[in-house]
């Protein structure tokens, strides 16, 4: 039996190599269903992605952290926090937060839009200029790092309850966390094998 490598699937659960049988693929090693690109619809990914972008807007507009120190309240948004850190001379931390909270989410949005538009309007064509697997892999690796600022705020807010200093978070942290979750779901529902069929 001669098999083209394009008709082979990698099981996302157990990594076994499987023959692409079209509509319904069951992995021969772990028994889980592997989705086939022929059934792939982009609607679900679009829905998650658009919701993620909507939640990302208030995440940037509302204050991420409010510090109540001796009765004086200072609040800062994500970008405001970055500027504050920069002015205090904490350059590496400022850069980490800037990349994690601003660059990474926007890069993920753009990448998903690019892949979805490609699939929707041009089908499974080959684009020689951009290696889509590398783009997807990169987004998968850096994606979770966008959680840094939520974790930092969670640490400060969950912990600092001194009589003279208190830290509070606004709607921004909740919407940021929801946005990250939705982006991850959008990427997971996006079947990576549509890239392969070009």
């Amino acid at each position: 039996m001669r098999v083209d490598s394009k008709d082979l699937l990698r099981c996302p659960v157990c990594e076994a190599v499987n023959l692409d049988k079209g509509k319904r693929n069951i992995c021969r090693r772990c028994g889980r269903r592997i989705y086939s690109h022929r059934k792939f619809r982009t609607e679900k990914s679009w829905a998650y992605l658009i919701a993620a972008i909507i939640f990302y807007i208030p995440a940037n507009l509302y204050p991420m952290l409010i510090i109540d120190q001796f009765g004086i309240k200072t609040s800062s948004t994500i970008l405001g926090g970055v500027i504050e850190l920069w002015e205090h001379g904490s350059y590496p931390i400022a850069v980490i937060i800037l990349v994690a909270s601003i660059f990474v989410p926007i890069f993920k949005f753009l990448m998903l839009i690019y892949l979805l538009v490609e699939v929707e309007y041009y089908g499974f064509r080959k684009d020689k200029k951009i290696d889509k697997f590398k783009v997807y892999y990169l987004a998968e690796i850096i994606g979770p790092w966008s959680m840094i600022d939520v974790f930092v705020v969670a640490l400060l807010v969950g912990l600092i309850h001194l009589s003279s200093v208190e830290m509070i978070t606004g709607f921004a942290s909740t919407s940021f966390a929801v946005s990250v979750l939705l982006t991850i779901l959008a990427a997971k529902t996006f079947d990576i094998r549509v890239i392969k069929k070009d």
Partner: protein, 215 residues
């Protein structure tokens, strides 16, 4: 690229790279060596005879570090005469108390529940493989592991702790607690295991272990 196979089972002799999706024919490796992708250089699989023994030792150490990291304070902050110590669990309770349910649950799963699950799965799995029992159980655990692994964010949480410390330094007096070093040890083990133990290898190991038992 086209390949010639007699049956589907022969596909076991092939690996698709997780990074660039290039198809490779598997090679027999010497103990302690790795196979790298010719296209992108990613590690495809490796040969480690002592995987079960090492995996069991690593997962037990990981669970001990995890317990120690969560039982004692990570950081202590001080302002004038007031002192407060901080642990992961007190952070989570603080968030829930403050009414931040979504952030609280989200963070709780990503930095506490999922990392703990990963190490419990490793522990039970390696134990089952060692005892050559629980064929079905090990399959279910491996499937669960594949779903939980991408949601384990303890390494990112460690960086977040450092960032939070920098933010606090100017405002309060900060001291590292005992747990801080345990947490670093836990994250180091976690990174080592997720980098070096590939799920595909665990499935192969499982096939091998129970096949040997049947003979």
């Amino acid at each position: 690229m086209e390949i010639e196979i007699q049956s589907e089972e022969e596909l076991d002799n092939y690996t698709i790279c997780h990074r660039c999706h290039t198809l490779h024919r598997n090679k027999v490796l010497a103990d302690g060596t790795k196979a790298l992708c010719t296209e992108c250089g990613a590690v495809l699989y490796q040969k480690n005879r002592a995987l079960i023994k090492n995996g069991l030792a690593l997962s037990i150490s990981g669970l001990i570090f995890f317990a120690l990291a969560n039982l004692f304070p990570l950081i202590k902050v001080q302002l004038v005469s007031e002192e407060q110590s901080i642990s992961v669990l007190s952070m989570l309770f603080g968030l829930i108390d403050g009414g931040y349910y979504i952030v609280g649950f989200f963070v709780g799963f990503l930095v506490f529940v999922f990392p703990l699950m990963v190490f419990m799965i490793y522990f039970v799995l390696f134990l089952a493989l060692r005892l050559r029992k629980g064929r079905e159980l090990s399959r279910d655990l491996l499937i669960l592991l594949a779903f939980v692994l991408p949601w384990n964010m303890s390494d990112i949480f460690l960086i977040s702790i450092l960032v939070a410390l920098v933010k606090l330094f100017g405002m309060l007096e900060v001291q590292m607690g005992v747990s801080f070093w345990n947490f670093i040890a836990f994250v180091a083990l976690d990174l080592y295991m997720t980098r070096n133990i590939h799920i595909g290898e665990l499935w192969e190991l499982r096939d091998e272990v129970y096949r040997r038992k049947q003979q």
